[in-house]
């Protein structure tokens, strides 16, 4: 509406033009705050409900529980199907941790080759790698399942971790390639003159400088693996091997509301690591997202 009329005029007109701008700014903040409250409502609701006694859960608009029902959490800690939450948490951590190590290692190796080394068919292979970002997971799902079944790996964590060591998540390869391309070539040339081969210059020069991209990869891998439901659903079926996400599944079919409180207490426990990661690394996360391939 009222921008920039004041670009060259006197201070008086400038200050008169500033008022509507200030008004606009306040409106923007009010709008953003309102949007924020609406958006955060489901999270507040989750937290509140996890502390509500069973009779208050349904048909109550109040966010604040009448009385705090901490027993929801102790029930949740007992776990599902006689498997304690600690066990489920450990399983989730093991899978997510394995995925992080696998992705960071394998994706950075492949990315270095694509970004910095010359080899035959580099162009077509790179194009293929990019194309697999768009490949729907389901196109390879069933044969992958058959392969892991033949290897006797169904109902183990291998199908969830092993693929990450083979750089199957092309998105991260691409992310690291983009980052490595931004590093000055002189560094490697200097290293080469000092007698470094490609391996030493990768480990000693490039990898340390790629740290921001590696951290982004690690955080996203952790959160996505933690949230993943589909793969865990098809590969794991023994309750003691379940992850937190999968344990929550047993609440999906249950229609009784008696388990509502404990169910949401467990949901909070399952979300907690993501929230902590988010609070600790939000800078990396937001910037990692912003830089995910749209830089010119």
């Amino acid at each position: 509406m009222t921008t920039s009329t004041s670009t060259t005029s006197t201070a008086a007109t400038a200050s008169s033009a500033r008022k509507p701008i200030a008004g606009r700014r306040i409106a923007l903040h009010l709008g953003a705050l309102a949007a924020l409250i609406v958006m955060l409502y489901p999270l507040a609701w989750l937290l509140a409900t996890s502390l509500k006694p069973a009779d208050e859960v349904i048909a109550s608009l109040d966010l604040l529980p009448g009385s705090l029902e901490w027993s929801n959490y102790s029930t949740a800690l007992d776990g599902v199907n006689d498997v304690s939450v600690w066990r489920l948490l450990g399983n989730s951590l093991l899978i997510a941790g394995g995925a992080v190590v696998g992705n960071v290692l394998s994706c950075s190796l492949a990315a270095y080759a694509f970004a910095r080394l010359r080899f035959r068919f580099r162009g077509p292979l790179f194009a293929f790698m990019i194309a697999t970002i768009m490949l729907p997971h389901h196109a390879v799902l069933i044969p992958q399942y058959i392969i892991f079944n033949q290897l006797g790996m169904v109902n183990t964590y291998w199908p969830l971790i092993l693929p990450k060591f083979l750089a199957t998540e092309a998105f991260f390869v691409f992310l690291i390639v983009q980052f490595m391309r931004g590093l000055p070539r002189e560094l490697e040339e200097a290293a080469r003159i000092d007698g470094c081969g490609p391996f030493r210059s990768f480990f000693l020069v490039i990898l340390p400088l790629t740290r921001p991209a590696l951290i982004t990869t690690a955080i996203f891998t952790f959160i996505w693996t933690w949230n993943d439901f589909f793969t865990q659903l098809i590969y794991l079926f023994s309750p003691e091997k379940f992850t937190l996400t999968l344990a929550l599944r047993s609440f999906v079919d249950a229609s009784s509301t008696s388990a509502f409180g404990p169910m949401f207490a467990m949901s909070v426990i399952a979300l907690l690591p993501i929230v902590l990661f988010f609070l600790a690394f939000q800078r990396f996360l937001v910037e990692g997202m912003a830089n995910s391939g749209i830089k010119g």
């Binding site: 921008t3 920039s4 670009t7 606009r24 700014r25 923007l28 903040h29 709008g31 953003a32 924020l36 955060l40 609701w45 989750l46 349904i58 048909a59 608009l61 290692l105 190796l109 492949a110 080394l117 010359r118 080899f119 697999t132 768009m134 729907p136 196109a139 390879v140 799902l141 069933i142 044969p143 992958q144 058959i146 392969i147 083979l166 750089a167 199957t168 081969g197 391996f199 959160i223 949230n227 439901f229 589909f230 098809i234 996400t245 929550l248 999906v252 079919d253 229609s255 509502f260 949901s267 979300l271 929230v275 988010f278 996360l285 937001v286 997202m289 830089n291 995910s292 749209i294 010119g296």
Partner: protein, 313 residues
């Protein structure tokens, strides 16, 4: 290469040119060492499975008995005899058409708002982004089911009754969960907006262009590669939505198959009913459809996506 200005000893450098070749070959070998995990993964976990799933799509296969060749029967059954298949197609397409434009539109509006903010931008950016990370989880999908259930918050506020148990409405509950996660495309939009040179806006306003005109003539063209990137990414992801539909419908795609998304039905056919051949055929149709949609998007992008580097530099 390195400059050789002061040394007259450049002739040995010229002689090293033939010697460079074995070095180059060694580097080529090194490249393949670096690539080996990826090559193995691409071959064994991508290319081979694609070929196998194509083969299986022409068979009857239950995971226990050897595959039995049936030709095109899975496909003909899918297209002509399976009303549930078409309901899953309908649900998925409706969802994609509703959720993706709403999500991207909201992301763009909020990004524009945040861009003109001086203070608090970083805070809002992070806060709006949080649902994109949390929302993909089973926890939030369960929250959604409760909020949109009979007697849930939405019922209480709007008096519309629960959404998740009404066939005409359940899909919208899932779509809203996706829209709620507009933070990821918003962050990308915001990054794109910040790269548009401010001189363009200054020049336009000197010429007397209105804000709306500036938006249409500067923001949209300059942002079009980013809009395109988000559109392709979110569309591909929307076709594969699974977790919220599973949670909202108790894993069955109800009520009345209204949230029987394509991937949910694929899971049901393959892993619940053990019709791996049929599920493979479904997977291949999905692959072709996503490929076709992406191709169409790329083709139309020629008319509306503007790359500054092509024109200027």
């Amino acid at each position: 290469m390195t400059t050789t200005t002061d040394t007259p000893v450049t002739t040995p450098a010229a002689k090293t040119v033939p010697v460079k070749r074995p070095g180059g070959r060694r580097r080529e070998g090194a490249a393949w060492v670096f690539l080996s995990p990826w090559v193995l993964g691409a071959a064994v976990l991508t290319l081979l499975p694609m070929a196998v799933s194509l083969y299986l799509s022409f068979t009857d296969y239950d995971l226990f008995n050897p595959p039995h060749w049936v030709g095109l029967r899975n496909y003909t059954q899918m297209f002509t005899e399976d009303p549930r298949y078409w309901r899953s197609v309908g649900a998925t397409l409706t969802y994609v058409v509703i959720a993706v434009p709403l999500q991207l539109g909201l992301a763009l509006v909020v990004a524009l708002g945040l861009k003109s903010m001086r203070r608090g931008r970083g805070f809002y950016r992070s806060a709006f982004y949080a649902p994109s990370l949390l929302g993909a989880s089973m926890s939030i999908a369960l929250v959604w089911r409760a909020l949109f259930n009979d007697g849930g918050t939405v019922d209480n506020l709007l008096g519309t009754g629960g959404w998740v148990n009404r066939p005409g409405w359940a899909l919208f509950a899932v779509a809203l969960l996706t829209v709620w996660q507009f933070g990821a495309p918003m962050v990308i939009f915001l990054a794109g907006l910040q790269q548009i040179p401010t001189e363009l806006y200054e020049a336009a306003s000197v010429d007397g262009a209105s804000r709306w005109r500036q938006f249409l003539s500067i923001t949209v063209p300059m942002l079009s590669p980013v809009i395109f990137f988000n559109l392709v990414l979110q569309t591909i992801q929307a076709f594969q939505v699974f977790t919220p539909a599973f949670a909202v419908s108790g894993g069955k795609g109800g009520p009345a198959d209204s949230t029987l998304f394509y991937t949910l039905y694929l899971y049901d056919r393959g892993f619940v009913a053990s019709h791996m051949g049929y599920a493979s055929a479904m997977a291949w149709v999905l692959l072709i459809v996503i490929g076709a949609v992406t191709a169409v998007l790329f083709r139309t992008s020629r008319t509306w996506v503007f790359y500054a580097s092509e024109g200027d530099r």
